[in-house]
């Protein structure tokens, strides 16, 4: 059996309205690239990125959800297994900001109670088209006791910082134990099997 090349596996989830840039945020983090063409995510997708925190190799399995309403029955079934959830809105799209409360309710309804949450105001490079002041994002984050960053996948602002901070927050409350615990089981909720025993 192959040896593991990481110590911990964290499952993260990206949610938010369609078109706010969830896939771009993830693509910037995982591949350090950006693409301007808008392709709606179909249902659910994921990417893997291994980072090193406090001397531990942490494999991040990041689930990217479709923001479109018609996929919600599929995407909400992936909330349960997430250890961290990034809620993304678009600072140039007021509606996406108004919907934050709806997404937070979704988290309450479908995710684990102790899930680590984070709010991201994406597209902060487009200041000329901004309709959501940074203060409003900070305020709503404070009200819900969650972290907040303004990010830009295009200009690569705060993307890595956001992911690493979320991973650190999860790491902080992760009891120290061997990695072949439930953390490695990614089959629940996501329906991805075949990882449990074979994680080189």
């Amino acid at each position: 059996m192959a040896k593991k090349t990481y110590d911990l596996l964290f499952k993260l989830l990206l949610i938010g309205d369609s078109g706010v840039g969830k896939t771009c945020v993830l693509f910037r983090f995982s591949d350090d690239a950006f693409n301007t063409t808008f392709i709606s995510t179909i249902g659910i997708d994921f990417k893997i990125k291994t980072v090193e925190l406090q001397g531990k190799k942490i494999k991040l399995q990041i689930w990217d959800t479709a923001g479109q309403e018609r996929f919600h029955t599929i995407t909400t079934s992936y909330y349960r297994g997430a250890m961290g959830i990034m809620l993304v809105y678009d600072i140039t799209n007021g509606k996406s900001f108004e919907n934050i409360s709806k997404w937070l309710r979704n988290i309450d309804e479908h995710a684990n109670e102790d899930v680590e949450r984070m709010l991201l105001g994406n597209k902060c490079d487009m200041d000329d088209k901004r309709v959501v002041p940074k203060g409003k994002g900070e305020q709503i984050a404070r009200e819900h006791g969650i972290r907040f960053f303004e990010t830009s996948a295009k200009a690569n602002i705060n993307i890595e910082k956001a992911f690493l901070t979320l991973a650190e927050d999860i790491l902080r409350k992760t009891p120290v134990k061997e990695p072949n615990s439930e953390n490695v089981d990614i089959s629940s909720g996501g329906g991805v099997t075949g990882w449990k025993s074979k994680c080189c």
Binding site: A2, K3, T5, I42, G43, I44, D45, F46, I48, T73, I74, I186, G190, G191, V192, T193, G194, W195, K198, C199, C200
Partner: protein, 216 residues
């Protein structure tokens, strides 16, 4: 929109013809009419004509007997014709009022519902069966396909990582002699810069043969 008024005109003409027919042909003409056009008046005309002919046959008791039956048949015909005409009249009125309603609705609601005049009510969609991009798979089917895609993707990532580990020498190849080591290095060197799928296939085949030889 143009058809209904046209048809109305046609029918109007037919009705006029009908009247003219009766006026010209007299009582005898009723027998030449289409049965679907008969009126109670026509039945009376027919009974007049037949009565006259029966009378001409004289007072044979057999004729009298036949007369009763003919009267009965004519009564039945009268009932059917009256009933039928009443029903036709009712349906015609209903049709006219429905036609008016449709025209009214068409005027009120301009062609915003371009998919036809069918009112489906809420929570329904019209699917154009000729549209190659029409929706045709269920959510469950999509869910299954996505799960399979993600499962295969994760397996691919695992396999890629494992391959990387072997390439970088992090994991030793199982049970190899000094000769095997050289062979493996050569294979790996080629695997890393193999670009054509053909070459990859031969490497897989060689690896397969190699491990087979080792085990037997």
């Amino acid at each position: 929109m143009e058809e209904p008024p046209l048809r109305e005109e046609e029918e109007g003409e037919e009705e006029e013809e009908e009247d003219a027919e009766r006026d010209e042909a007299g009582p005898e003409g009723a027998l030449g009419k289409s049965p679907f056009r008969l009126t109670a008046e026509d039945v009376y005309d027919i009974s007049y004509v037949m009565g006259r002919e029966l009378m001409a046959l004289g007072s044979d008791p057999r004729v009298t007997q036949l007369q009763f039956k003919i009267v009965r048949v004519l009564e039945m015909l009268e009932a059917l014709v009256s009933e039928g005409n009443l029903a036709v009249e009712e349906l015609r009125m209903e049709r006219d009022s429905l036609r008016k309603e449709v025209e009214g609705l068409r005027r009120v609601g301009p062609p915003d519902s371009a998919g036809g005049e069918v009112n489906l009510g809420p929570d329904k969609v019209v699917v154009d069966l000729t549209d190659p991009n029409r929706p045709r798979f269920t959510l469950q089917e999509l869910r299954d396909v996505l799960q399979e895609r993600n499962r295969l993707k994760s397996q691919l990532l695992v396999a890629q990582e494992e391959l990387q580990c072997y390439k970088s020498g992090l994991f030793p190849l199982p049970r190899e002699g000094p000769r095997g080591r050289r062979e493996k290095d050569a294979l790996l060197a080629r695997a890393s810069n193999a670009s054509s799928s053909k070459e990859e296939k031969t490497i897989i085949k060689k690896l397969y043969n190699y491990s087979n030889k080792k085990h037997t």
